[in-house]
């Protein structure tokens, strides 16, 4: 089997699995909402990986843009208008805007310093969410709102009560986002990002304004991360500061690494494993933090290339 056929086959399998997920999730002991969560967090991890794996920039604070998307969506419904599409748009604008501003401040930094500054900046929004009680609901989270049925003009889709319908809405948006990212990565612009990842000095001396390209990549990544955030809030009709916490940022990174940073679909696979594990562990033991922590350590020590990285290696040898 040639590499191309194999690639096409696995692509078809991935989409087939995603399209039918609500119908086999229960059979394997899951539930539709768990599947939706995999998609949403997978999208966030793939958005992060746009930076991490394909631009080579160590961003560790993506919970900020994810969380801003989530709060933006929740607050739009609660304070502005009962519209799901509006909520998504507002959340995405909010997260992307924050990414654009913070990105501009940090594009000169590299490596561990970039990581440290992104982590630290993400905390601002965490504290705002906690302290600005009147608007954000503080520690208890933003409640008293829910997603609304989609009005298509000729009819309504009840995404509120029908969780399968909501799953497919998420899947459509996921497909668009992922398609756009894939398209970008295959474009001349996408290749400049690979160039920066591979060898920044060479890229600079081929005439690339590195900072501009890293900034763009950062903003694009924040855009899709905040889209994932809006869907996360809509999924549970609730959002609390945990979505903005640095531990959430770390979770996104571990998903990307676990699945394989160098492969486009890796983070989705990582998200699936992580979400299922977290779901299982947190419902079986109070010490889930230790188990997740241990999981981090094990992945780093024994599994640095991730699932897809390992598979690809095997296929090669």
């Amino acid at each position: 089997m040639s590499a191309l056929t194999r690639q096409r086959l696995s692509l078809a399998l991935i989409w087939l699995a995603l399209l039918t997920m609500p119908y086999w999730m229960n059979a394997v002991g899951g539930y539709t909402e768990l599947g939706t969560r995999v998609l949403v967090l997978g999208l966030a991890a793939m958005a992060l990986n746009f930076l991490l794996g394909f631009t080579g920039v160590l961003s560790f604070g993506h919970a900020a843009y994810f969380g801003l998307g989530a709060y933006g969506a929740g607050m739009a419904i609660k304070y502005l208008a009962p519209s799901t599409p509006l909520a998504i748009v507002i959340g995405v604008v909010l997260g992307t805007l924050a990414g654009a501003i913070i990105g501009a401040l940090i594009v000169k930094l590299r490596g561990v310093y970039f990581a440290m500054v992104t982590i630290a900046f993400a905390q601002v929004f965490f504290f705002i969410a906690i302290r600005w009680n009147a608007v954000t609901g503080g520690d208890d989270g933003l409640t008293g709102w829910h997603r609304h049925a989609l009005d298509l003009g000729f009819g309504k889709i009840d995404i509120l009560n029908n969780d399968k319908a909501f799953y497919y809405l998420v899947l459509v948006l996921f497909a668009i986002a992922v398609g756009l990212m894939a398209l970008l990565l295959r474009s001349p612009f996408g290749r400049t990002l690979l160039a920066i990842r591979e060898n920044e000095r060479r890229a600079r001396f081929l005439g690339l304004p590195i900072e501009q390209h890293i900034w763009l990549s950062f903003v694009i990544s924040c855009l899709f991360a905040s889209l994932a955030g809006t869907l996360f809030a809509l999924l549970s009709n609730f959002i609390d500061p945990h979505a903005l916490h640095w531990s959430q940022s770390g979770n996104f990174v571990i998903m990307a690494v676990l699945g394989g940073m160098r492969s486009f679909w890796g983070p989705l696979v990582g998200a699936a494993i992580f979400v299922v594990l977290q779901d299982y562990v947190s419902s079986h033991t109070a010490n889930w933090m230790s188990i997740i922590g241990l999981f981090f350590v094990l992945v780093v020590m024994f599994f640095p290339r991730g699932v897809l990285g390992m598979l690809r290696r095997k296929a090669k040898s």
Binding site: A115, M116, G293
Partner: protein
């Protein structure tokens, strides 16, 4: 009003001293080994809880002496068996590893000592106010400032006068040359890590007396320490010290006028510093790339 302001400035200075103590340890490790030790807060908590368990047997002073050393020993082991394996790899991996360790340490303290906050006994004569007008000037607070000052002084003495310290500084500047000159870089990094963790442990013993003792004590202090390093300047220990004190005081002052922004203000400050001077207040040129 003046008194309230003074109180909060002084308070900020003390909190800033903790940030600085913790950030100095983080900086040592970051500068020599390129590792962001996310678990630093976890080590701080270990130091605090060890002191809590030791106080009934050896008293406060004994705990102050022993607990940081025990914490540092745990740090040496963690470096030896886990972190050391990752120096050759992308810094992403050491970051994730210490991230996982932070989870384990926080949960571990919760498992051993419980999730409730615990009473932390400090000597009576340290807790009484020294002046009725400036009620906040308790002996313990003054004592903490003095002790942090002594610890920082000792650290800078070690770095500039002892053989280990000079090697750490030389290694920070140019690790390759130092290793060619026959210095055992593995041992150097190990001891340096231990030194950083010692400072975290010490900060823990002191902080518990002021902030109270519960398992999240470390994770509340770690982020400000990052900010201290960034504001103070990457690669510069005096900068880290300055950064820690500065954000402590600024957030103390903000508490007076706009209490709900007391945490956010340090991140705003970080943004301003990065905008005006990307390498930080006392940062070295060329550290960014």
């Amino acid at each position: 009003m003046t008194q309230l302001l003074l109180f909060n400035v002084f308070n900020g200075l003390i909190v800033g001293a903790f940030y600085a103590l913790m950030a100095l340890g983080l900086s040592l490790i970051l500068n020599l080994s390129g590792v962001i030790n996310f678990a630093h807060g976890g080590f701080l908590a270990i130091g605090a809880y060890l002191a809590y368990s030791l106080i009934p047997y050896v008293g406060f002073w004994g705990a102050l002496l022993i607990a940081p050393i025990l914490t540092a020993m745990i740090g040496l082991l963690v470096e030896r068996f886990l972190i050391r394996r990752l120096y050759q790899r992308d810094p992403l991996y050491s970051l994730l590893l210490t991230f996982g360790l932070a989870y384990i340490l926080e949960d571990g303290t919760r498992m051993i000592w419980g999730a409730q906050s615990l009473p932390y006994v400090i000597p009576d004569w340290l807790t009484s106010p020294l002046s009725s007008e400036y009620f906040f000037l308790t002996g313990y607070r003054l004592f903490m400032v003095v002790l942090v000052a002594v610890a920082v002084g000792a650290l800078f003495y070690i770095l500039s006068r002892t053989r280990l310290g000079m090697r750490i500084r030389a290694g920070t500047a140019d690790l390759e040359t130092v290793s060619v000159l026959g210095v055992n870089v593995r041992l150097l990094r190990n001891l340096n890590f231990g030194l950083g963790i010692y400072l975290a442990g010490l900060a823990g013993v002191l902080a518990a007396g002021m902030l109270g003792l519960d398992p999240t004590i470390g994770s509340t202090l770690i982020m400000p320490s990052f900010v201290a390093i960034i504001v103070g300047g990457l690669g510069s220990l005096p900068g880290t010290l300055l950064g820690g004190l500065l954000i402590g005081v600024v957030s103390g002052i903000t508490t007076v006028y706009f209490p709900s922004a007391s945490e956010a203000v340090m991140y705003v400050m970080m943004g301003v510093v990065l905008l005006v001077r990307p390498r930080g207040l006392l940062g070295e040129e060329g550290r960014l790339q």
